[in-house]
Structures are given as C-alpha cells and as structure tokens.
Amino acid sequence: MLKHTISELKEALICLEAGQVTLPYPFQPHPPDENFRGKPVLHTRKCMSCGACGNACPARLISIRDEAGIRTLSFELGRCTYCGMCRDACPQEAITLSQQFELSTETPGDLLIRAEFKLVTCRECGHPIGTERQVELVREKLKASDMQLLDMSYLELCINCKRKIFIRTPALMLEVVS
C-alpha cells in the first residue's frame, strides 16, 4: 500500500516537472513544418495545361478533357495523397503544395480545382493541337533558338497535316528550315 502511494507520488512529481504538454491548438494556430505538403494549388497564370501532372499522379485524380475548343483540367482532390508528384512533374512550376491542412468539408465537391483553357485547332483538319499558351510557348522558344524558321504558320498544323504537307512537297521543308 505504502509502496503504491510512493510510486504514485513519484509520478506526480514527474508530471509537475514536465509542466503542460498539451497543445493549445484550436484556440491558437499550430502551423506545420515548412516542408509539409498540404492542399495543392494550381497557379492558373503559369499553367499551360500540358497534362504532365495527370500522367504523374498516382491517384489519377487529374483529368484532362478536350471539348468544343476548350481544354478542361480538373483536380478531384478528395482522393489526393499529397505526394507532390504533380509539383515535381510540372515544367512550368504551376503547381505548389500549400500549408493548408484544415480541409474538412461536408461535400467532397469543395475539393475540386477546375481550369479551362482555349484550344488551338489545326488549320487544315480542325483537330486540336494544344492550348493557345502551349503554341505561344513553342513559338517563343523557336524564336529564341538558333533555328531560323522563315514560316511560323506551320505551328498551326497538327502533326498529321504537317507530315502530309511535307510528303507532298518536300521542297517546303527546306523553305521552312533554311
């Protein structure tokens, strides 16, 4: 009996030494570590909707749909595992993982990111080539590169139409590249 009381007193002393350990969390914010991976944020100003994130995502929650001249990029973050593969895959650094972790919601629809981008269609066959931003980016890169392209209008052709045109008139290729 006495032994028991002594050991309890000892424990009480240890607790007094330790002081308060409980976090005052709901009353004071408790920010996570700076490397914490929270809710992904899409920076729509940088995104050119190439779909690299969709290929990298292990949960396959990033879907890309081309419809009626508009490419829709949607993130269903309900099943996101916060692995950061989309951020690593993005060539434009348009996805970052924020520090936000208080994501509880009554409707999983709140965890949706949807972005719509205008598509460029092939001038010959009308097949979508890519978004306006993608074509613009390629144009800028070609201008900055050493290759001196004379005719930039070939950027408005889809890959099949380019092939057909060059096969029909091989001289055009020389004209474009020379």
């Binding site: 409980t22 969390y25 309900g78 099943r79 996101c80 208080e102 994501l103 509880s104 981008f117």
Partner: protein, 149 residues
Amino acid sequence: MNALDWCFKKSIWVYHVNAGSCNGCDIEILDVLTPYYDVERFGIRLVHTPRHADALLVAGPVTRQVRERLIRVYESTPDPKLVIAVGSCSTGGGIWYNSYATLGGLGNVLPVAIYIPGCPPRPEAILYGVAQALGLVPKQVEKQEFAEV
C-alpha cells in the same frame, strides 16, 4: 436550435472503425487521444462499442469484405449519429478508387456528415473536422475555378 444541435451540444463519444485502412489514419486518430493533442478536454472520448457511440470515425476505402460489418456497426449505433470519414481513402477512395476490392469511399456506403481528407490527415485536421461537424468552427476550403476567356 434543431434536435441534432441539441444532441451534440455536449461531449460526443466516438467509435473508431477501420474499413480497410492502411493504419496511417488509425495512428493519427490515436495521436489525437494522446495528452499532446488531448481531445478529452472537449469531451470527445473513444468508446469500445458502437452502442455507446455518438459518432463513427471511419478510416479506409471500404473494402467489399468490410462493407457488411460496417453497415452492422452503423445500425447498432443509436440515433442520432454522425459519420466522419477520416483520410483520403474514405473521402474519395484514395489510390484504390477504381479497385475491384473496394467500394471507392465511404460516401458510397453510408451517409457521411463530414469528410476529413489527408493522407493521413494531421491530428489537428481531425480535431478541426470533428469540431466542424459539431458546428464550432467554419469551413476553410472552397472550389477553385478558372476559365481563360
């Protein structure tokens, strides 16, 4: 004040159900109960049978095997009850969303009061989610939409 608000005004007791979870969420749920986070100061307590529980904390994508048991647990919980989906798996199926062995999230099986996404969610996030289900704190997420004109 409606009946549900009145029922959940005071301490809620939770029953933890593992519906095919990988144990990540279960560890975080246990973490919430430790003195460091200490949910018992809000009256939230883990109970050992669903018959004593007010809320079910369900983790995991709900496998086909566990579906029947989960429904039995749900039915043995007295009304009114809250179902709280913990983790990305129970929110939307996680990386098993299209597997033949899972039912793709808790929302397909039971009426869910609140979803707490995260893989696993931080203990703070679970605490926040339960508080949100009780109507104590506001929702922080919203849909992000963008259209290039």
